[in-house]
């Protein structure tokens, strides 16, 4: 089977990209022809965070569209608007979250919702996404392919490590992404009673120069850790705290489980896939986040409970499918779909129309005089619009432009991080 995956970003560490890379690798290993197609300009950048990338074919859109595919998948929602460029028997949407929630801008939210407007072949890892698509797009073909756990990178330990000494707490997630709630998590850890000794670490792909301090002590930072080294970090902690408000199916708690740790998480979308309160983890509702501190106090004081959760967590990790199993399931699903012939009429013209409409709309928005027209952002007042307009003018000014050209990409990144810190 000739399979293409349109992807948003392969360079930065991301759980979503990891899933696509694992499936691409798994399908290739099974003898299928696979190509990854970054939707953004691909400048042959090295993405060292995932060793599997080296053995996969990565090709820019303008080259990849010369081929004919059996299945072409959109993944990140914006890549749905690129699907029409490809000739394929099946147009698929590998949907890992309701990504409208990643954006505050209403126009992106609406464009995201349009990506569910055609009865494509939807493949998803999460029961809640499969259920949601079936509710809103009954004519679509929906296939559930649960994520695997990388046995190469996250082999299960024999037994959970011993749990003496201070409670070792690992926070996971990037800084500056509000729905990951990393900043709030550190604040909540600061509310744990002082007599409860804690060692706090932070595993992150992006920290924006931050050095969090919890109860007067600096947090141990594990930044940009290649995936094949992550388990050594996980193994040093008893419990992962991950309080996101938006997830598809998060992988890090399961990876933590494989190393004999437990997790405290929110009842976020996707948590029901494998987290069981009191069996392998402790779950907290968004309106009870304060309970995180008391959960940690409980785990410190009740080592029997901690051991029991870690044991349950390890059992869960052992039962999780491997990526080989998961990709085999995907391959079988695709073969069956192809054998049965396309279940939908060719949606390519409709995809092209959708992309054209979306593109024109975004262009119109960009050219709109924001200060004079009400605009599509009902919560932004005239003053904020004016500031936004001035900021854009400043960014376009020759002085700023030439300064940006003069700065190296690394320096630009640092300057931007510094500016963001000041603004926050």
């Amino acid at each position: 089977v000739r399979v293409g995956f349109l992807v948003g970003d392969l360079v930065r560490i991301s759980g979503g990209s990891n899933v696509i890379i694992e499936h691409a690798f798994g399908l290739q290993k099974l003898g299928h022809e696979v190509v990854l197609v970054p939707a953004d300009e691909w400048a042959d950048q090295k993405a060292a965070w995932h060793p599997r990338l080296a053995s996969l074919e990565v090709m820019p859109i303008h080259q990849a569209r010369d081929r004919v595919y059996d299945v072409m998948f959109a993944t990140w929602w914006r890549t749905v608007y690129e699907l029409w460029k490809f000739e394929s028997s099946i147009y698929g949407y590998f949907n890992q979250s309701y990504e409208s929630r990643f954006h505050e801008e209403r126009h992106y939210k609406l464009l995201n919702r349009c990506t569910y407007g055609l009865p494509l072949v939807f493949v998803t890892e999460a029961t809640w996404i499969a259920e949601m698509i079936a509710m809103i797009q009954p004519a679509a073909t929906v296939r559930l392919v649960p994520n695997g756990l990388g046995r190469d990178y996250f082999p299960c330990v024999e037994v959970p490590p011993s749990t003496n000494g201070p409670l070792r707490v690992l926070v996971e997630g990037p800084w500056g992404v509000p729905f990951k709630r990393v900043r709030e998590t550190f604040e909540l850890l600061g509310r744990v009673k002082p007599e409860v000794p804690l060692h706090v670490g932070w595993l992150t792909g992006r920290r924006d120069g931050q050095h969090p301090i919890v109860r007067g002590k600096p947090v141990e930072i594990h930044e940009q850790v290649p995936i094949d080294e992550v388990r050594t970090v996980l193994g040093r902690y008893d419990v992962m705290v991950k309080l996101s408000s938006v997830e598809g199916v998060f992988g890090p708690p399961l990876e933590m489980f494989s190393q004999g740790g437990t997790a405290i998480t929110t009842t976020v979308s996707g948590s029901a896939e494998y987290l069981r309160h009191g069996h392998n983890a402790l779950l907290v509702e968004p309106f009870c986040l304060d309970r995180v501190a008391t959960y940690l106090e409980l785990l410190h004081g009740d080592r029997h409970l901690l051991r029991s959760l870690r044991k349950g967590a390890l059992e869960t990790a052992r039962k999780a499918p491997s990526w080989e199993e998961s990709s085999s399931l995907l391959a079988r699903q695709l073969e069956a779909l192809l054998a049965g012939g396309p279940s939908h009429v060719n949606p390519r013209p409709a995809l092209a129309a959708l992309a054209t409409l979306g593109g024109h709309w975004l262009e119109d928005l960009a050219h709109r005089n924001l200060a004079e027209e009400p605009g599509p952002w009902p919560h932004i007042g005239a003053g904020e619009l004016l500031l936004l307009r001035r900021y854009r003018q400043l960014k376009r000014s020759p002085v700023v432009r030439s300064a940006m050209e003069w700065l190296s990409p690394a320096l630009r990144k640092r300057a931007r991080s510094a500016l963001e810190r000041v603004l926050r």
Binding site: W128, M135, I136, P286, D290, L305
Partner: protein
């Protein structure tokens, strides 16, 4: 004594006015048996006798009025008191505190706030805020084919909105009272959208948007729900504080409802993820009943607050 909730044969009684029935668990085939005992001012003594004879391990009490004397035979492991909007009145605070003190003599007491409560009785322990949850299992599946619009008479949008919307569809005025949560959900489920205009009054009047989301409706309101509840603006429900924008959003729903179907589906799922009282209680009790006395050595307001 260490007990892990739920233990075999464990029982949970919820006691309160019938208006709270929609947001309490009722079942006998779950991990624990759960019953609701409707309580009126007039039948207090009789109800408490029935509760007592059922011998619950946990009692969740929606406290609205001063309690009568509790039968001495009643000895639950844990009382969870949910002070309702009525007890916020200054005149009732004293009796509320006295009730909690009286209950504390026999058992640990936790407070689960349903609304803003300033005074926490001494010795009681605060679990935190309890938003309007629902027993999701008793509310049916999403009905995407229902597209009509309804309004609640106690939170109806301004006349100009109703006139504008009426040009495009019939606007159904809900007949159920705000207190009749079950009737309200049943009636709302015949429609696709609730247009709500909050006047910022009591909890019972303000719970309709959450009940509507539980019933699978698209909710348009003029005020944000409390941020700590975790509903996502635009993705779970829509807020338009100004009348002109409110009308435009209602028109969008009626004319371009394909995108609002996603909002309906996500809100319906969100309720099941985080606002299903069965799971919420299960998690809270698992935690509280790890120890025989879950509040041992802890002062007021320090437990989960």
């Amino acid at each position: 004594m260490k007990r892990e909730w739920p233990w075999p044969g464990s029982r949970l009684a919820t006691v309160g006015h019938a208006k709270w029935r929609i947001q309490v668990p009722v079942y006998d085939d779950g991990p624990f048996e759960a019953r609701f005992f409707p309580l009126e001012k007039e039948n207090c003594r009789a109800v408490w006798d029935v509760v007592s004879s059922w011998r619950p391990d946990v009692i969740v009490l929606f406290l609205e009025h001063a309690l009568p004397e509790i039968p001495s035979s009643l000895g639950p492991s844990l009382w969870v008191v949910v002070p309702t909007a009525t007890v916020e009145g200054p005149g009732l605070r004293a009796s509320w505190a006295a009730c909690v003190e009286a209950l504390r003599k026999g058992a640990p007491v936790a407070i689960w706030r349903l609304g803003p409560i300033d005074d926490v009785p001494r010795g009681a322990v605060v679990w935190g805020d309890l938003p309007p949850c629902v027993d999701a299992a008793r509310i049916g599946p999403l009905r995407p084919e229902r597209r009509g619009v309804c309004v609640a008479p106690w939170a109806a949008p301004p006349q100009v909105v109703r006139e504008e919307v009426s040009d495009l569809c019939t606007v159904h005025v809900l007949g159920s009272s705000p207190e009749d949560g079950e009737g309200l959900v049943e009636e709302m489920r015949e429609h696709g959208a609730l247009l709500f205009w909050s006047k910022g009054r009591s909890t019972i009047l303000e719970r309709a948007p959450v009940l509507a989301m539980a019933g699978g409706l698209w909710v348009l309101t003029n005020k944000e729900l409390p941020q700590q509840w975790g509903f996502e603006l635009e993705d779970d429900y829509v807020v338009r504080p100004r009348v002109a924008e409110y009308i435009r959003a209602a028109h969008d729903y009626l004319r371009l409802d394909a995108t609002s179907q996603l909002v309906r589906a996500r809100a319906w799922q969100k309720i099941r993820e985080s606002f299903d009282i069965r799971a919420v209680l299960d998690r809270a009790l698992f935690f509280a009943l790890r120890e025989g006395d879950p509040f041992d050595g802890r002062g007021a307001g320090t437990y989960g607050s």
